[in-house]
Symmetry: C2
Subunit: 148 residues, 2 copies
DNA sequence: TACAATTAGTTAGCTGGCTAAATAAATACG
DNA sequence: CGTATTTATTTAGCCAGCTAACTAATTGTA
């Protein structure tokens, strides 16, 4: 049994449960990612590029809902790892296109697989209905908060 | 409308929805916390102490499910802010007790209030049943993952 | 055309999180 | 009793995230 947070107001909120569940999830994903040489969060950058290669830095930041400086340094590290490269945009000299290398593309399967393994463990014992309902509610939370 | 992540496998998982919802939630809480001079995560330390003052550093790390070095530096900063103090444990010279100052205790209300405001916005439009069900599922996710 | 305003990225510096390694005290044990 | 082991905390250094401030290129406009 896990304590849900005592008697205080914060510990009783759904937001608290959300934060703790997410922390555990990120921890599990992070541990698995370490086995392929990645840090938690970096797989999100790769995921966007697997979906659409050649994004501009700013587009990447917007899709990740992260600030430009964050993306800037992450790209530097991923580039140093040989997973992607920045190519100057011929149409705009202050932009660049982020392009996956073969090495970066090859990580797709292993990363999707490990994410899937965590998924199975995280939601073990839940029906498809429960899981689907949970997902829907989480999307609503995100919508509610990203407004303002 | 918010994109849920395209066609890739990761974007379709409940874990992905969890991560994105949590990111939005942490962002909202963090913005509100900034108004009382705190950073996201620090309120969790205070919360534990509001529940039980005088915890040892290691106990705090365990309850937060965080590593000792993380707690060590956070305590240093919170102490520098005058929110708490470390008192050496007379029964064990290598331990200490973390004790709130009046300033630290006074933050309870404002922090609980702002957390509550985010709670209302985050789960706006959800019935109590949905919210309660969501909370229960999130606790189960946490239990599933904190096992191994 | 020349200059102002906007836009794209980067750098610096802060925070929460982590691991590995060092310090120091308590405990176990021969 | 003295040494070895375990335990509590800190330090160093890495990464993701942030804001503020800077650079450089594009665009708007007088």
């Amino acid at each position: 049994m896990i304590q849900t947070g005592g008697t205080g107001r914060i510990g009783e909120t759904a937001g608290f449960a959300l934060a703790k569940a997410c922390k555990a999830h990120r921890g599990s994903v992070g541990a698995a990612l370490a086995e392929v040489g990645l840090h938690a969060g970096q797989e999100m950058v790769l995921r966007e590029l697997w979906e659409e290669d050649g994004l501009k830095g700013g587009e990447l930041a917007a899709r990740l809902a992260v600030e430009p400086p964050t993306v800037s340094r992450m790209l530097g590290r991923l580039e140093a790892c040989g997973l992607l490269e920045r190519r100057r945009d011929p149409e705009d000299a202050r932009s660049f296109r982020v392009c996956l290398t073969a090495k970066g593309r090859d990580l797709r399967r292993p990363v999707e697989d490990l994410w899937q393994r965590v998924e199975e463990r995280a939601f073990e014992g839940m029906s498809e209905e429960e899981k689907h309902g949970l997902k829907g509610l989480l999307v609503r939370v995100r919508e509610n908060l990203s407004a303002g």
